[in-house]
């Protein structure tokens, strides 16, 4: 009996995990090989047809490209801002540092839906504050449409994404900066190194593990990010800012083709599992180091 006790104690948690994680993924996998269409009920097994339909859909490739850009550029931008602010905060100015850190962290705690709506109104062509500022400064003409222009919509959601992710990067970088031994900087100073050389030869190398973890996490989260794009543009205009999670919704709950939606979500899942595996490897390497 004692032999089975640990398993019995684990059983409720395992069952719960099975129910909320394993079962939906397994059902999704099954659906991806079936014709599950709510408009035409009663379809059967279709093999890889749903995957072929996904790969044959021009919007999928556009969404894939957009998602990759959204993830990589949005995350990189957030990392740059986060690093910049972390460097500023690392200069200890007493209470001001804590206050500033708290203020800079606000975007991280705002709900993505609320943030999305706020950005949507900030960028509004006629009533948005951004156009008001930029046109007052003579940079753009008033009424410039940011979200209604297929050439700028994706860039806008990337900026919004960077705005939301930078506080996390900032906190992580700050922790990284504070763990760099002061002796390294002291030794460099003795050798006559300039501030720039210290930054590139001490700070950056020491922050590399943090940066790789952040980059991977940011890319994974961005690949999964639905709220910001959906609220701001719904993937428009004319699919210009379409990303994969929004496309899953389009397939599943606009076209009601759950088979095709499942196939796409399995593809995203596979990609994310691969990225997560990479993330774990980076973590392991970091711990060994």
């Amino acid at each position: 009996m004692r032999r089975y006790t640990p398993y019995m104690l684990l059983a409720p948690a395992l069952l719960f995990t099975m129910f909320i994680l394993v079962y939906p993924v397994a059902q999704n996998l099954v659906n991806s090989f079936r014709d599950v269409n709510l408009v035409r009920p009663g379809g059967g097994w279709t093999g890889l047809l749903n995957y072929r339909h996904v790969f044959g859909d021009a919007v999928f490739w556009l969404a894939f490209r957009n998602t990759a850009l959204y993830a990589v550029i949005g995350t990189s931008l957030a990392l740059l801002i986060g690093l910049g602010l972390a460097l500023v905060l690392d200069v200890n100015t007493g209470k001001m540092s804590s206050v500033a850190a708290g203020l800079y962290s606000i975007p991280w705690v705002v709900s993505p839906v609320v943030a999305g709506f706020a950005w949507k109104w900030l960028l509004n062509d006629h009533f948005g504050i951004l156009n008001y500022w930029l046109s007052s400064a003579g940079i753009v003409r008033n009424g410039t449409s940011w979200l209604g222009n297929p050439h700028t919509a994706l860039a806008c959601v990337m900026i919004a994404r960077a705005w939301q992710f930078y506080p996390f990067a900032m906190v992580m970088f700050l922790a990284g900066l504070q763990s760099i031994p002061a002796e390294q900087y002291e030794a460099a100073s003795v050798d006559g190194a300039t501030a720039l050389r210290k930054f590139f030869h001490i700070t950056i190398p020491n922050l590399r593990p943090v940066s790789s973890v952040l980059l991977l996490l940011g890319v994974i989260w961005s690949f999964n990010d639905f709220n910001m794009v959906f609220v701001m543009t719904r993937g428009g205009p004319i699919n210009a800012s379409m990303v994969l999670p929004v496309l899953v919704r389009e397939f599943s709950f606009v076209h009601f083709d759950l088979g095709k939606g499942s196939a796409l979500s399995i593809l995203i899942f596979t990609l994310l599992v691969t990225l997560s595996f990479l993330y774990l490897r980076v973590l392991a390497r970091r711990e060994r180091a």
Binding site: P41, H126, R141, G148, P150, F253, V254
Partner: protein, 427 residues
């Protein structure tokens, strides 16, 4: 002894409550969207129904109009949908065809009930040989003009496409002299795929174009007439710059904001728009006129079709209580109930002959124009894929044509090709 008595009383109460539950039929009624006044009216009407139909209890739920198809498919496909629902009539083909709606023509008194309604409005609820709902409110798409801006410019609402284009051009201007245009002639609902199609199709219909062939086997929206309608809007956007540059991102809220703040002069809307404008800018005056026709069709100005949309009350095919659900939708949509649509501004047009022919009907602002337009309006073709085609094919391609990514001819040909594949089941 006391315990025994209390126990017996509890048992008796339990028995009574069980018995009562068995006698009472509970109907679930989903209402999508609508003005607060309409929702309030519905609540009172349902209460009146419960008083006159003892033994039927109605549980009403108010749902978002934006989520209508998601909610209906999610619930109907697993058999948990409401007993009664008010939906777009053009869902009759899609949901009726999928077996989700109850064919109401199977009720014995249907032939009497159908006489209440304007015949062509009731026809919009039909798919093949069955009728799937009772008309709830009629909608005709019209041109709404900002009276203040039109009067200031000294022009009348346009009747032809050249007048329309000219009016939009003249109403596009820099009002504060800062060198930037801040008032536009026309705004379009580009941020809502379905809503955009509803607002562009009236131009196609006014030009005499068809969406599909009568046998529902061939897509026809790439005809020269249809292409000319898309070209009109594309030219207004690309050549005249008289359409708001950011229209591709707009939802109805933004359109209302722009209209009420005098930043746009015209929009293609329906009977809900006056109420929206009133809520935001009480007393603001509008002209409600038919969507303009091509110059060469001016003789058909009074008879050219616009797009007809309609809301209907449908019954879930899997309801346990079809008779009671039928009684409810008749009560909600009978001639007496329909008079409320005349006496109060509920954001749509009545559908019974009695209400539309009543003396009060002529006194309502805009109602005569909507009644007139509804007489000649055409609904979306009754094909199960029509709504998907409108949102996912027609809208993206016509938007590409308007912003200049494709020529109107290329866009409509490509859209027609994809839509044809959809109705042939190849996509």
């Amino acid at each position: 002894m006391k315990r025994l008595l209390v126990g017996a009383a509890l048992l008796a109460l339990l028995g009574l409550s069980c018995g009562r539950k068995e006698d009472t039929v509970e109907l679930r009624d989903w209402n999508f969207g609508g003005k607060p006044r309409l929702i309030e009216w519905l609540r009172h009407r349902v209460e009146a129904f419960e008083q006159t139909h003892r033994g039927i209890r109605v549980v009403q739920s108010q749902k978002s109009w934006n989520m209508i198809r998601e909610l209906l498919y999610a619930d109907f496909s697993v058999g948990t949908g409401p007993d009664v629902v008010n939906v777009h009539a053009n869902y009759a083909a899609e949901f009726g065809g999928a077996g989700y709606y109850y064919p109401i023509n199977t009720f014995p008194d249907f032939q009497d009930v159908r006489k209440w309604y304007v015949p062509h409005l009731l026809e919009s609820t039909r798919y093949r040989e069955n009728y799937y709902g009772l008309p709830s409110s009629g909608i005709a798409f019209v041109l709404i003009c900002n009276k203040e801006l039109f009067d200031r410019e000294g022009i009348s609402p346009p009747r032809t496409w050249s007048e329309f284009r000219e009016a939009a051009r003249r109403l596009t201007k820099d009002t504060d002299g800062d060198g930037t245009v801040d008032q536009y002639g026309l705004v379009l609902l580009g941020g809502d795929k379905g809503g955009f199609a509803y607002r562009l199709v009236p131009f196609l219909l006014k030009a005499g174009a068809d969406i599909m062939s009568d046998d529902l086997k061939t897509i026809r929206f790439n005809s020269p007439e249809a292409v000319s309608a898309v070209k009109l809007i594309a030219d207004m956007y690309q050549v005249d710059h008289s359409i708001t540059p950011g229209f591709l991102a707009y939802t109805l809220t933004e359109i209302n904001d722009l209209f009420c703040s005098n930043k746009v002069a015209m929009s293609i809307e329906g009977p809900w728009f006056r109420g929206m404008v009133d809520d935001k800018s009480p007393g603001k005056k509008i002209y409600t006129v038919p969507v303009p026709v091509p110059d060469e069709r001016i003789a058909a100005y009074d008879t050219a079709s616009t797009l007809q949309d309609m809301v209907m009350y449908a019954i879930n095919a899997r309801t346990k209580y079809p008779e009671q659900a039928w009684a409810l939708i008749k009560f909600l949509r009978n001639e007496e109930a329909d008079m409320a649509w005349i006496r109060e501004d509920l954001g749509a047009v009545a559908t019974t002959r009695y209400a539309l022919g009543s003396p009060e009907a002529g006194a309502l602002p805009d109602l005569p124009i909507y009644i007139h337009e509804l007489e000649h309006a055409k609904p979306w073709p009754a094909h199960p894929s029509m709504i998907a085609i409108a949102s996912d094919v027609f809208t993206p391609y016509t938007q590409k044509a308007i912003v200049g990514e494709l020529s109107p001819r290329e866009a409509m040909d490509q859209a027609a090709h994809e839509a044809q594949e959809m109705i042939e089941g190849k996509r």
